[in-house]
Symmetry: C2
Subunit: 338 residues, 2 copies
DNA sequence: CACTTGCCTGTGAGCGCTAACAATGTGCCC
DNA sequence: GGGCACATTGTTAGCGCTCACAGGCAAGTG
């Protein structure tokens, strides 16, 4: 910066003012400084700047498996929004979903001086641990559950599950089976609750949910079990007939579809299926999958807006701030005869 | 740090030595300092440290659409590897694939003082622009093409395409059609070249490749065109019969499968299909998709290793350094009668 | 004409840390 | 016992930047 000042024939402070868009700089001086900057290829040192301003303009993100469509889309929207606001995003991924792993990830981010973090880990243990940490900077969670005093941005999972389940019931099915996500995942829990609530309101029998782990393989296994029930159905084993299934995510739904097809069952003829997420592939499944679309990018943007508003207000407003985004039911061939 | 020093009854320099694991510190002093640190909840200021050491320990990543399975998996492996080496990763995503967008992304990273960057943008224009930028820090590309003087880490796309094509030919097909990715993508080009080379070596007719854009929808359209040819095939329009198709990625292959099925064609009975990537869903397509698996996580790890080795050697070794990872053919039902 | 006002610019201090050097204490050799 | 090597600690000087303040100059005011 001293070099630039010398070339431009001004003081380093004037160079600083030009770079910070300070108003009180004569136009001719400004252009002269900018010329010198261009000539020298100068870039302001961010560390020195951060040191004196006490602002790193960096936000941290803790993400769970970012290989999945949802988290990665959220991250995408989040990064874009942060960049527009002049912040940098540093992401850390979680290998295990333990409290220790979360703490380690947050420590790592703290070491680099992030001003705030977004936690995209809809996992009960992790979020609980998060609430217990008293961190010296603001935290926002995405899908972090509503029972903790941490601001959260989420899609209404409960409502989405209700939409899918109601849609299936409305098509005339007596009841709707459910392939659930792992119980430690908050989203899985909310979806299961939504599903159950609709059945109870309708006075329908609530079949035992089948446990999956989000992967297509687990969906496949669940599908095999369901197929077995359909085939053995006439024999009557106390459980209600399987004619409709709400699967907690699209990947598992893919596995279910395959298992049913292998068992010779037609979808939606014999069994209607609905998923959750609306991954790009869902429209091209066999048959195209009825599912619940989540606006992941909006989730990311909202989380950044919330985080930055706390950062810049400086205040620590209500810790129970909530942003809820509505999901949308996308009806396709897996639930309606084509 | 001064506070810690006072509490521990030492100088700030000793505190610094403890934090840097300097050898010459008496054990009793070290524990005393650590105790003070714990008591005060002190954290070393990364900006001040970066300012004086001239090391930010931050790496930048420029990624194209990280919603896709490949890039996001690479990013995942990359971040993990970087963290193990004590670096932080800051990622920026590209909205458009222009030279200007790339420059903007890199500027953004530079402003935050990254020590080096990994560019995961297998796009011709972007990579060419990258080669022309003379950046003051090391750059490594993932799938950045081998024709430029930039170190690159990649899966051998050409070989992967050859594997898939050879596999289809070996099954007895006269020739193999190809649904290609956008020509501006280096991976699309390499896969098309590999496909073509096998056909030429085998003396097979090379059908005109059909252009897609990586999306399931474009695959679906390509599939409709192919289905049309099969049905009209007997009429003979100069083009060879469609009995096998190598699709440049799994998402498009999904679209192709659906279009063929809608046209009443059986896979692999009438048309055999192979894809590329091995996304988690591929195994559960109808039928399960034969595809070429890429080890994306290894790609990310290798890119970090390469980048850090340049960083720490300080030297600027051969700019044509290359790491090539072998792909693997995964044979499933879409290419072989079950 | 002195005085204020507003604009523009320069000066000096210091953000929190590490590198280099200086200073102390401790043990060992001749 | 003097001197040397070594381990341990303290002192000082910046790293490159922004903030607070001071100063200079032109224009307007009483």
């Amino acid at each position: 910066m001293a070099d630039v000042a010398q070339v431009a024939g001004v003081s380093h402070q004037t160079v600083s003012r030009v770079l910070s868009n300070h108003p009180n700089v004569r136009e001719s001086t400004r252009t002269e400084v900018l010329r010198a900057i261009g000539q020298l290829g100068y870039r302001r040192n961010s560390s020195a700047r951060a040191l004196v301003t006490r602002r790193t303009l960096t936000l941290g993100v803790v993400a769970c498996n970012p290989t999945l469509f949802g988290p990665s889309s959220t991250l995408f929207g989040l990064e874009e929004a942060a960049r527009d606001e002049g912040y940098m995003v540093s992401a850390v991924t979680l290998r295990r979903y333990s409290a220790a792993a979360l703490r380690e990830a947050i420590d790592h981010l703290s070491d680099w001086g992030v001003e705030g973090i977004v936690v995209i880990v809809p996992h009960r243990e992790a979020v609980t641990a998060l609430a217990e940490l008293r961190l010296p900077f603001p935290v926002v969670t995405v899908e972090g559950g509503h029972s903790l005093p941490i601001p959260v941005v989420s899609v209404d999972q409960w409502l989405g599950a209700r939409m899918a389940t109601s849609h299936l019931l409305a098509a005339g099915h007596r009841t709707v089976w459910h392939v659930a996500g792992p119980p430690s995942w908050l989203e899985a829990e909310a979806r299961a609750k939504g599903w159950r609530s609709v059945l109870e309101e309708a006075g329908a029998v609530v079949p035992p949910p089948i446990q999956g782990d989000w992967t297509p393989l687990s969906g496949y296994r669940a599908g095999q079990e369901l197929a077995g029930r359909v085939t053995a159905g006439a024999a009557g084993r106390g459980s209600p007939e399987v004619t409709a299934v709400f699967v907690a995510n699209d990947q598992m739904a893919l596995g279910v579809l395959r298992a049913l097809r292998e068992a010779g069952l037609s979808v939606p003829g014999q069994v209607a299926i609905a998923g959750f997420d609306d991954i790009p592939e869902a429209e091209f499944f066999t048959p195209p999958l009825t599912t619940v679309r989540q606006d992941f990018a909006a989730l990311g943007q909202a989380s950044i807006r919330l985080l930055i508003s706390r950062l810049e207000s400086g205040t620590r407003p209500d810790d129970d701030e909530r942003v809820v985004i509505e999901p949308r039911l996308i009806v396709r061939g897996s639930s309606t005869p084509s």
